[in-house]
């Protein structure tokens, strides 16, 4: 209908423009598209205010910042906050905890979705595959509060696991409150929550592998394992590298919510990570300058790591991120 009407419109002799048409110069093009800027403006404003404006707030890292005096009134202290940070044992503890948890997650939680994707992909029954996907995706959409509440109920000190262990004579065990195994607990929770969701991207990568490769390999006598080893796994390398680069960029970031929620149960000694340290020192403790400095340094290290990892990946012939 639209097309018909527009065709009729076209047949009419072109009217003389009543006012001079805007030129083809930049200003003219911008004027002609003025409506489009109205679409961009509100969303862009959001990013300016809530993503870019706070970057300026990092100057608190170089001040003895006081909320009452503001950025203008607070005294400048140069790099004092950074110096104080490096001599604060609490920072080093938080850094160590962060790295221990992060490394555990890169070693165990990162490859888990690849293994699960390979397993589900090897299932012949489409129905079983779909049921499994439905089950393993679900926890991703639950909040950390819910996930930890569920874990608390099942494996906590009053749950069925502790009950079973007590009956077996292991005494009273509460894995939710054990500082020694906290990094393992956190990693297990990450796997439980997100292993299924992580498979989505690997499934996409697997489905992009041309089936002829499998066909000809099978014709040449390659069994299922050989096909996984020589076709599927190499096909997953680019996306794996991409995700690994992203993960390395956030090696100093481990789930803030997840850990904050469990801190009362295990104590700060084992569970204080950089993000929770920044939160408690700054928002709770009012030591704004030092907390900002710690957060800023963390952000800079993350950016440097992501750029370096990307360059390394490119040099080794992979596609890289940017």
């Amino acid at each position: 209908m639209l097309l018909k009407r527009s065709a009729r419109h076209l047949r009419q002799p072109t009217q003389q423009p009543t006012r001079p048409r805007p030129g083809t110069g930049l200003a003219g093009r911008m004027w002609r598209e003025r409506d489009m800027y109205a679409f961009v403006l509100p969303g862009f404003l959001f990013f300016v205010v809530f993503a870019y404006l706070p970057l300026l707030g990092n100057i608190a890292a170089f001040q003895d910042y006081s909320p009452f005096l503001g950025f203008g009134g607070s005294t400048w202290v140069g790099l004092d906050n950074f110096a104080a940070m490096f001599t604060d044992p609490a920072v080093w503890d938080a850094l160590r905890n962060t790295l221990v948890i992060s490394v555990l997650q890169i070693v165990f939680a990162f490859p888990a979705p690849i293994a699960l994707a390979l397993l589900l992909n090897s299932l012949i029954s489409e129905r079983v595959k779909r049921i499994m996907q439905t089950i393993v995706y679900l926890p991703h959409f639950l909040s950390w509060v819910i996930v930890i509440a569920i874990w608390q109920a099942v494996v906590g000190g009053a749950g069925p696991l502790a009950d079973l262990l007590a009956k077996l004579g292991a005494g009273h065990v509460n894995v939710m409150a054990n500082p020694d195994t906290f990094p393992i607990l956190v990693t297990s929770q990450v796997i439980w929550k997100d292993v299924g969701w992580g498979t989505v991207i690997f499934f996409a990568a697997i489905s992009a592998i041309p089936p002829e490769l499998y066909e000809s390999a099978a014709a040449d006598g390659a069994g299922a394992w050989r096909r996984i080893w020589h076709i599927t796994l190499p096909g997953l390398i680019p996306v794996t590298l991409l995700l690994l680069i992203l993960r390395l960029g956030s090696v100093l970031t481990v789930g803030f919510e997840q850990i904050l929620l469990q801190q009362p149960a295990v104590g700060a000694e084992a569970s204080q990570v950089l993000d929770t340290f920044v939160y408690f020192r700054g928002v709770v403790g009012g030591d704004w300058g030092l907390a900002t400095a710690a957060g800023l340094l963390k952000g800079i290290v993350g950016t440097v790591l992501i750029v370096a990892a990307n360059r390394l990946a490119k040099r080794s012939g992979a596609e890289g991120l940017f």
């Binding site: 097309l3 397993l119 109920a153 149960a265």
Partner: protein, 291 residues
């Protein structure tokens, strides 16, 4: 999809092994949910620790927390935040995505696109963001749960990809007919994009429903807490819910009350989940990755 000829059935031991692994995965993923739901219906008599099926069922726990009070109010707060936030987020994401969908023709929009994309790789930090929200006077305001996370760059990219794949002829036809950009957007682009709008709306709704980080940072006033904070306070940190709810009525077991709160806060997710799932396998996500 038919199974290709080369995908023969595995040998018996391999199949058995796979079966065991699959069963173990199902058990680990499903048992916790079953346990929580059953425990929420428990009574004082039926509370057996390791059994799956309680001997008697009761709705006391639900009655107790839904009869008004902390949990009921928190549920309403969360519902309100989710509805208002999702509507605003979807609108702003769609308009931004449309505005950035013709970077070739509209000068300056490519730069805006890059500025938005870059935000996927950095965050300003907890403290500077907190100071900004405080500076805007949003502490203890419900807007602090909505405004700081209004638009996600990732969702914007997904929508932009969808808009860019709409047939160009259709949009040109509308323009020749004299439709302005807003008319084109409202009458043609949006109606054709129902699927992607549904997915993005669900993603935002899930995020708002789950919001905990913003709430714990910006809401000091406990009477404004959304359900996730109430869940943390009364289930994880073990504050007693029964006492503040209805002191004189007979109390259902504390475990049942806690589990009922968990069930109620999970319910909306479980309800929208089938709708979500229908869409995201259709390559919405994979389309975005290589955007």
């Amino acid at each position: 999809m038919t199974t290709p000829l080369w995908r023969e059935r595995a040998s018996i031991p391999v199949r058995a092994l796979k079966g065991v692994v699959i069963a173990a995965i199902i058990a680990v993923m499903v048992y916790p949910f079953v346990y929580v739901v059953l425990a929420s219906f428990g009574t004082n008599n039926s509370f057996k620790r390791f059994g799956l099926v309680p001997s008697e069922f009761s709705f006391e726990a639900y009655g107790s927390i839904l009869s008004g009070g902390v949990v009921t109010r928190a549920l309403f707060v969360s519902i309100g935040i989710t509805l208002v936030g999702t509507a605003l987020s979807v609108f702003l994401t769609a308009t931004l995505a449309y505005g950035l969908s013709r970077t070739r023709e509209v000068p300056g929009t490519r730069a805006v696109l890059y500025l938005v994309l870059v935000t996927m790789f950095f965050a300003a930090g907890i403290i500077p963001t907190y100071l900004l929200v405080k500076g805007l006077g949003l502490i203890d305001s419900y807007w602090s749960l909505i405004l700081p996370s209004l638009v996600s760059a990732f969702n914007m990219v997904v929508m932009r990809n969808f808009f860019m794949r709409l047939p160009k002829e259709l949009l040109d036809a509308a323009r020749i007919d004299g439709a302005g950009e807003w008319q084109t957007f409202l009458r043609i682009v949006l109606p054709l994009s129902k699927a992607v709008i549904a997915v993005i709306a669900l993603f935002y709704a899930v995020a708002y429903w789950n919001s905990f980080f913003n709430a714990i940072l910006y809401l000091n006033d406990a009477t404004k807490w959304p359900i996730q904070l109430v869940l943390n306070q009364y289930v994880l940190q073990g504050a007693s819910l029964s006492q503040i709810q209805n002191p004189e009525a007979p109390q259902p077991p504390a475990e049942a009350v806690q589990m009922a709160v968990v069930v109620l806060s999970t319910l909306p997710i479980v309800i929208v989940y089938p709708f979500l799932q229908r869409y995201f396998s259709k390559g919405v996500l994979t389309g975005a990755v290589k955007g």
